[in-house]
């Protein structure tokens, strides 16, 4: 197994005044190129903090993140993030939102016309080219998230980080968008790390599922391989024995061994 992205002994403690909270403890994980890995856990277990550390938006207290054997500790387009609430800039059009990243990343390597074509190419990938002149307020939640994905893809990231990308969508839109992401992964072969709290989503999309124990001091409890052939079909998998077994394993982990103790 070749380490493409490596999380090396990551600890994270938050200090406020005299109180210190240990959020993450001893997180070790290696991800191969082209792999689709999901991190699942109850809310508050620090999975978003972990994603922020990988993205460079937060720094780890100890340990570090290695991408292609080089340490990364500040944010950059090589680890583009699709944020949970899309985070499109409301004063820019769909096209301009995607172009913002493209202009920065390819300012030296692509001409203006090439950059324009690249923006449109990525909008086409997520089937949003028709809305290029609309503002985020004029399109639906699912469409916004598509544009968010296009913005991240257009930066040609080495690792695509998805922070509960479908969390704010209704069930039907979510399924549709999951299929789109699967198709994109199939087509482009990106390395993807996704945060989720949806068991079906994790099993359907991932090659491996990383299960986190409850915080504080959350650790990686178990890593599950999902040996399902791609392309995967939602309907066929519903009765697939391997799929159900994987689903069962994750459910057991989350609801029996690591129940959400905090009275939410």
């Amino acid at each position: 197994m070749t380490a493409y992205l490596k999380l090396d002994h990551i600890d994270k403690t938050f200090t406020r005044g005299n109180a210190t909270t240990e959020v993450l403890k001893e997180i070790n994980l290696t991800i191969e190129k082209g792999e689709y890995v999901s991190i699942i856990g109850h809310s508050g277990c620090g999975k978003s903090t972990l994603l922020n550390i990988i993205a460079g938006l937060t720094t780890a207290t100890t340990g570090g993140v290695l991408l292609e054997n080089r340490e990364v500790n500040s944010p950059g387009p090589d680890r583009a993030v699709v944020f949970q609430n899309h985070s499109l800039l409301p004063w820019l059009t769909v096209y301009e939102n995607v172009k913002l990243g493209v202009d920065k990343v390819f300012s030296k390597t692509k001409t203006k016309a090439e950059r324009d074509a690249w923006v449109m190419h990525n909008l086409n990938l997520v089937q949003m080219a028709h809305a290029k002149d609309k503002r985020p307020s004029e399109i639906s939640g699912g469409m916004k998230q598509r544009v968010g994905i296009a913005r991240a893809l257009a930066m040609e990231p080495k690792v695509l980080l998805l922070d509960e990308p479908f969390g704010a969508l209704d069930a039907l839109t979510r399924a549709h968008l999951q299929d789109s992401v699967m198709a994109l992964h199939q087509k482009l072969g990106n390395t993807i790390l996704m945060i989720t709290h949806d068991v079906d989503e994790a099993v359907l999309l991932s090659d491996r599922i990383v299960m986190m124990t409850n915080g504080p001091s959350a650790r990686i409890g178990e890593v599950l391989d999902v040996p399902l052939a791609r392309p995967r079909k939602r309907l066929e998998l519903a009765s697939n024995a391997t799929y159900l077994k994987c689903r069962q394993r994750v459910l057991e982990f989350l609801y029996e061994r690591h129940r959400f103790v905090e009275a939410a």
Partner: protein, 300 residues
């Protein structure tokens, strides 16, 4: 939204109560009922225009009645109009010195406001950004701002006269110092309220500080900035009249003071009318500009 309004209208027609309601009814049938939208537009305009017109007519009438009696200290509107006919219809005359038409006085005042306010806008947005962005700048500067902003505009005038030794820059300084505070404070609040998400996006895309300022901060804080700018323009127009009364020269403020010294009360009233209208127009201009610039900024 339209249905209840129509219903209301229909109900008010029957009893035909009040002059306003009666006027509304009179307006609509005049229009040929070709299209529904046309009639509705006329109705909406009437609803907005007629009440203030009625109030103005009534107030003018009361004013006329009260001030027409013998021994009244203030002139009635008819006398104001007769006295200032010359000024109203010939705003562009220029007999040298300060004997000029009202247009020249107003434009001199507007020019001072334009200078002072422009400086205030630039300095205000810059300082506001600093205070909004840096916790230490805020801790250091905010108490100072909170104290300084309570100083009345005119209190600055003697000091600025002492510093600049000239009326013109002193007046501009007073405008600046009056209007800069709301711009600073509102900009700072706007910058502080930029969602973390936008900062994260900027970090991932790796915008440099200048790009972050122009592409994220200013658009994101624009609604707040324009609130500050709008308060600022109102304050600077308030301050200019008072400042000009003291520094003299051409300008609407000194025009009023000069009219008072010459006991031309009618001219004062006319000048006040113009000051009010221009203040209103300035406010609306900034509001319209803000609406245009921040179009689409509102979060979905």
């Amino acid at each position: 939204m339209n249905m209840p309004v129509k219903k209301m209208e229909a109900e008010t027609i029957a009893p035909s109560a009040g002059p306003a309601a009666a006027a509304v009814v009179a307006m609509t049938p005049k229009r040929p009922p070709r299209s529904e939208a046309y009639a509705r537009m006329a109705k909406e305009t009437a609803v907005r225009v007629i009440p203030p017109l009625v109030v103005i007519v009534l107030l003018t009438l009361i004013w006329e009645l009260v001030c027409r009696r013998a021994g009244s200290t203030l002139p009635p509107p008819s006398k104001v109009f007769n006295d200032t006919r010359e000024l109203i219809f010939h705003p562009f005359f220029d007999n040298g010195g300060i004997d000029k038409g009202l247009f020249w006085h107003l434009s001199a005042s507007l020019q001072r406001v334009a200078y002072g306010y422009s400086i205030a806008a630039i300095v205000g947005i810059a300082l506001g950004t600093l205070v909004g962005q840096s916790v230490w700048a805020m801790r250091g500067l905010d108490p100072l701002f909170q104290v300084l902003r309570t100083i009345p505009p005119l209190a600055w005038l003697p000091l600025s006269l002492a510093a600049f030794r000239d009326g013109q820059p002193s007046a501009i300084f007073v405008i600046f110092i009056t209007s800069v505070w709301p711009i600073i404070i509102n900009t700072a609040v706007g910058i502080r309220n930029i969602p973390q998400d936008y900062r994260n996006v900027a970090a991932v895309v790796q915008l440099n500080p200048l790009e972050f300022f122009s592409k994220i901060m200013i658009p994101a804080a624009a609604p707040y900035i324009f609130t500050g700018l709008r308060i600022g323009i109102g304050l600077s127009w308030l301050a200019i009249v008072a400042a000009e009364m003291l520094i003299g020269g051409v300008g609407i403020g000194f025009f009023i003071w000069d009219a008072w010294n010459s006991s031309h009360i009618s001219e004062i009233i006319l000048a006040l009318f113009y000051v009010g209208i221009i203040g209103f127009v300035l406010d609306r201009l900034i509001a319209a500009l803000g609406k245009f610039v921040t179009h689409g900024t509102a979060q979905s």
